[in-house]
């Protein structure tokens, strides 16, 4: 299902305001430094009410905590920016498509992944704790 950009703008803004770079085209994904160097968090944003409503606040809470965090932050929007989402998923072909989801890369290698089913039914704080633990392990 494709969604209207107008409808999803507030959902995009939740992550952009937290410092995420929006990747809306295949070209932008290809040029994103985070896919190859340093530590990088890529959030596949989505409209899904049950999971995305906790995913975005969870990500923000994890980053607001301070301490170790990724060098690069980026997001694509599933169901809206189809080309960019496909390109982002191609960075982790071993992982089934899932949105919302979060992928942590280190020097281009996927080191942690939070699929949608690990967000469903959890609180934003649960999601934040998961991410903080991954940041502590991989971004220190």
């Amino acid at each position: 299902m494709m969604y209207s950009p107008l409808m999803v703008n507030p959902m995009r803004e939740e992550l952009v305001a937290a410092g995420f770079l929006e990747l809306t085209t295949e070209h932008e994904v290809a040029g994103w430094p985070g896919k190859a160097e340093g530590t990088a968090l890529l959030v596949i944003n989505s409209v899904c009410g049950c999971a995305a409503g906790m995913a975005r606040p969870g990500v923000r809470a994890a980053l607001n905590e301070g301490g170790d965090g990724p060098d690069h932050l980026a997001t694509v929007f599933a169901g809206v920016d189809r080309e960019a989402t496909a390109a982002a998923r191609a960075l982790m072909p071993q992982v089934p498509p899932s949105s919302p989801s979060m992928a942590l890369f280190k020097d281009g290698e996927l080191v942690h992944f939070v699929p949608r089913h690990r967000i469903e039914g959890r609180t934003a704080e649960d999601v934040a704790q998961d991410l903080r633990a991954a940041f502590a392990e991989h971004c220190a």
Binding site: C48, G49, C50, A51, P96, S98, R116, H117, E120, G121
Partner: protein
């Protein structure tokens, strides 16, 4: 916590593991659970003896990464379903 879509089961939108009284195990997003059927979307199926992984190994992998869907939508006979669990709680 489901999506609370009007008229749908509370597991609507949640990724679930559906076990049956036969060799098949289903992993997919619950659309609805009704008296006579369970409707799943974006589903993969594990069949005992026909899959490269044992059921336990398949579930372990699914719990970590999710599944690649092999069916857009499946309707299961509720009478043959023995359990429905959230994948995120495995």
């Amino acid at each position: 916590m489901g999506t609370f879509h009007h008229g749908k089961h509370e597991l609507h939108g949640i990724t679930v593991v559906v076990d049956t009284d036969g060799p098949d195990l289903f992993v997919g997003r619950c659309d609805d659970i009704l008296d006579d059927r369970v409707v799943l979307r974006d589903v993969d199926v594990h069949r005992d003896g026909a899959h490269e992984l044992s059921r336990a190994a398949y579930l372990e992998r699914a719990a970590q990464w999710g599944v690649f869907k092999t069916h857009e939508r499946l309707v299961l006979d509720r009478a043959r379903v023995t359990s429905i669990r959230r994948l995120g709680e495995l």
